[in-house]
Amino acid sequence: MSLTLAILPGPSIGPEPDARWRGLKGLFLMTPAGDLDSGNACARENAELLRRMAGGDRDALAELYDRLSRPLYATARHILNDASEAQDVVHDVFLALWENAGSFDAGRGAAFSWAVTLTRNRSIDRLRTRTNRARLLASSSPDDLGYGSNPGDIGTGDRAELVERADAVRSAVDALPAEQKRALELAFFSGLTQKEIAEKLNEPIGTIKARIRRGLIKLRDKLTHRL
């Protein structure tokens, strides 16, 4: 079964569903119909930008940058804790998207997911190069991953949309059991392996695997349900 993103309107959204959907569009909700057929306007727009980029349209690259750069930069900066390195990562990611736009297949995933994966992997590669494993284990902590930190003032317009999107994810993650939330945060941001996460949380590795699995599935389900 192939799953793709969808924004599903429905009564559970609330009295002003449109405003909330605007902020949540682009999140990764899967339907068997495929991304481009899902009705997810944001994902479709991103895919269209990639198609134009594959044709050499630099304006499309600029527009995609405007849409994705903030969460990508925030992710890289959060993983690396270094603004300069985060800029390098984001630069490399957008250049990779530009050079490989022709290979993008919307049926296999959303552009945002692709960009986040590139950003996260490159950030973690840099982190692992920069930091030895022992230091990594000692310095990373679920409490300092910034989950509870103030998201900051990021303005209005598109940025407000970004805030709404982030709020939706935060709400979904907040609803997870604490131990699943901590395991997911470490898995996504710390660059630790399964074994290192288990050591960090002082739990058997099987327990950590189960928590990540349950947490990720619940996260997907909660985001799907909300939308």
């Binding site: 079964m1 899967m30 250049l95 050079e99 996260l219 997907r220």
Partner: protein, 286 residues
Amino acid sequence: MIDDRQEELAALHALDLLEGAERDQFVAELERNAELRGRVGDLRQAAAALAHLAPAAEPPAALKARILASASGSASRGRAPEAARTARPKARPVPVSSWIPWLAAACLGVAAIWSGRLYLEARSESASLREQQRLAQRALEQTRGQLADATRLLSASGREIAELGAKLKAEGDLAHFKISMLASMLGNSPAALAVAVWDPTREQGVLAVSRLPALAAAMDYQLWVIDPQYPSPVNSGVFAVDPVTGEAHVVFRADKPIKSAAKFAVSLERKGGVPSPEGPIVLLSR
């Protein structure tokens, strides 16, 4: 149908947490299982949503310009395959000879990459050596400065040592001197004071007297050195004192070689002195 084990592996794979053989096996399984691929895609996108948990951060404005500038020098690869697909004729067997230029180009490419790598390594090593040389040069300059300071200090110390040595030598010489206080032997000049200092090296002495009574014109004070090697005192000259203060300061030598100046004596003699003491002893070493 996806079982629990597959779902767990899919979740871990979505977060890139699978490693080694476990990852290889799962990737192989993915190639055979479309439903599982879909589940991984599903979970990978849910995982990507976690990016929104990062504290908001605004990229600098210059970053966009930098990316667009880099993109100008780097063509999107999406265009070439598209054009190639439309223009490419139906595939047909290619003669081996046609590969030779490509093979040569590939070899040249590999050689260029290898050379580039060697160049970068050499450049890095060269930079490292230059840095080491710079540090060594600085250490050398510091050492030279320290050496100059040490030389100056040593020179100053040398002068001080020389002065100290001279002083010690003088003190040592002084230690060799024979110093004697002479006491008055006459009742009419009880307040008379005299000190005789004898330098055995130079066989020369100094006599300082005060409060000795002035003498009549026909008389002189005569100084004697008493050396045990001689049966009688050795004449060391005559002197007169200041008629007002009774003082005299006399540098004297003995008429004979002196081995040991055991005592000094002053006698009252006729004018010009006598070979052997005849008059009364006025002053004698204590």
